[in-house]
């Protein structure tokens, strides 16, 4: 295989490096000040681990952290499964039906978070008076699933559109049932979209503040809600410490995944060369 594409030169790479610096500078500042011995966020006054220690004894932060994690896991997985089936269903519909349905699907995304949050809170409050429930963990989780599914659909639909429909036809001609074609042809082809959707759903859920803020009620707090409440007073460097731990965990995970993939590819290449 010959690629005639010119690799980016010095200028291009410096530009990318500059953008990465822009993306990472604030994060490094957060990490550095998690070790600061005073509460100041701009003046360095000495090294300490105190914030890491006190973090684990701060029950409101830890509770918010667990709530955020549980909500993100459940909502991302549920939304990815639902979104995959919904996308494939949409893809196989006549465009007369698909187009309006896709427009409805896109509403929570086109809609500002605050509009989604506000409208869901109106719905939940009204349903709550009829069915006797209050805003809380349930409505929070439901809200996260609701806003995650459209993003999953958005990341899968382009992959379905790029999918060569002859592939499915060929599989069917060769005697594949539709279910088989689904698992052996469609799912592997759109897998990058599904995984992309899962990751987007998870990160959006962890990061979401606005919709949670309007649908969680007064008794449940996610980490972002906790942080927002703290910015109104003064942020405790414990939050910096927690973010640092989270950041390093994700970094480690991504490195492990990446190294494994590269190794597997090397193995496959070697096998190919032998044959």
């Amino acid at each position: 295989m010959s690629t005639s594409i010119k690799r980016p030169g010095f200028f291009g790479r410096s530009y990318t490096a500059l953008i990465l610096f822009f993306l990472y500078a604030p994060i490094f500042i957060l990490i550095i000040f998690s070790f600061n011995s005073t509460r100041s966020r701009t003046v360095w006054s000495g090294f300490t681990f105190d914030w890491y220690r006190s973090l684990f004894f701060d029950s409101s932060i830890m509770n918010a952290f667990y709530t955020t994690l549980i909500i993100a896991f459940i909502s991302a997985i549920v939304a990815t499964i639902a979104g995959t089936f919904a996308s494939i269903g949409f893809y196989n519909m006549k465009s007369r039906w698909r187009t309006p349905l896709m427009h409805i699907n896109n509403i929570p995304m086109m809609n500002a978070d605050i509009a989604t949050g506000v409208s869901l809170s109106l719905l939940f409050l009204s349903l709550g008076t009829v069915l006797r429930f209050n805003l809380g963990f349930g409505t929070l989780l439901l809200a996260h699933i609701i806003f995650n599914i459209p993003y999953v659909v958005l990341s899968i639909m382009p992959k379905l559109r790029q999918l060569d429909s002859n592939l499915v036809d060929a599989a069917c001609d060769l005697g594949c049932t539709w279910i088989k074609a689904f698992w052996k042809v469609i799912v592997p082809e759109i897998m990058p979209g599904i995984i992309n959707g899962l990751i987007i759903a998870f990160t959006l859920s962890i990061d979401d503040f606005v919709i949670s803020y309007f649908t969680a009620g007064g008794n449940v707090m996610t980490l972002p809600m906790q942080i927002f409440a703290m910015t109104r007073r003064r942020i405790s460097p414990e939050i910096n410490a927690l973010s640092t731990i989270l950041f390093l965990t994700v970094l480690a995970l991504l490195i492990v995944i990446n190294v494994r993939e590269v190794r597997q590819e090397d193995k496959q290449k070697k096998l190919k060369n032998r044959h």
Binding site: F85, I114, L122, V250
Partner: protein, 270 residues
């Protein structure tokens, strides 16, 4: 079972959780707190015109900046070796794992009058700048937070373009610039469109960035709505009316953008 029926549960779901909530917003927007039909909520909105204008203007600037900054990143990345590409995408996604509020909060410590930027400027002998609590700070916060949402969709569309198209164009005598102009750019427009969607809408409605970096001096639509629902000026009817008008303007904007995109796609036969 036919594959198209797979989406029926989700259609029911959308009816309850997507369509019904909007009907609630419309209902609230057109009624008083006693449930009597009225238009007074819309009449009361006139005094917030400047907030509407400011919101859309700042969001537009941020979106354009995200395209100008993010598109070259996506294009440069797509031409790197596969391993480097994967590493770089990881690096671009990684900051999103740091909480949105914290990243914005970090910008407070950078942009403050006695913050890290001004310390640095006076250290190298330059005059200090007053950025915090101005629209500039809000735009910086928006571009910073939403840039990955512009880079990723553009990148994922560009890498999917069949490389033999580049070769064909080159064989026909096109240089790098005209390959970009006639092949890559038109084919990457769907990515730009999703990028615009993912940047403009959160930008126009934010209240976190304005409250942290604008310090309450740069009021946007989000702040206005939040105040009506959870803030001091409790008035969900007025809040619903504002949210409804904002939604309609956003939808009109997206419709125009999409129309433009479809025209371009047809022009290149994609």
């Amino acid at each position: 079972m036919k594959p198209k029926y797979l989406s029926i549960p989700y259609i029911v779901w959308m009816g309850i959780f997507v369509v019904a909530p909007i009907i609630f917003v419309v209902f609230y927007a057109f009624t008083t707190s006693e449930g009597v039909p009225t238009l007074q909520n819309f009449a009361a909105m006139g005094r917030f015109t400047s907030v509407f204008v400011r919101s859309f203007w700042l969001a537009l600037i941020s979106t354009v900046l995200c395209i100008l900054i993010g598109y070259p990143v996506a294009y440069i990345l797509s031409r790197e070796g596969l391993r480097l590409q994967r590493l770089m995408i990881m690096l671009i996604v990684l900051p999103m794992w740091m909480n949105f509020l914290l990243r914005t909060y970090a910008w407070m410590s950078i942009l403050e009058n006695t913050g890290l930027l001004n310390r640095f400027l006076s250290f190298i002998g330059l005059p200090t700048v007053n950025i915090i609590n101005t629209p500039t700070a809000v735009v910086i916060g928006m571009v910073y937070n939403f840039l990955p949402f512009m880079i990723l969709p553009i990148y994922s569309v560009i890498v999917k373009i069949d490389r033999s198209l580049f070769e064909a164009a080159q064989d026909l005598g096109a240089n790098t610039v005209s390959v970009f102009r006639n092949v890559v750019f038109p084919m990457s427009l769907p990515g730009v469109l999703s990028g615009i969607m993912m940047v403009f809408v959160p930008a126009v409605s934010t209240f976190v960035i304005t409250q942290l970096l604008g310090g309450g001096m740069v009021m946007m639509l989000g702040d206005l709505i939040e105040m009506q629902f959870l803030g001091t000026a409790y008035n969900p009817q007025l809040g619903s009316a504002i949210a409804l008008v904002m939604m309609l303007i956003v939808i009109a904007f997206m419709y125009v953008v999409n129309r433009f995109g479809q025209g371009e796609e047809k022009a290149v036969g994609a």
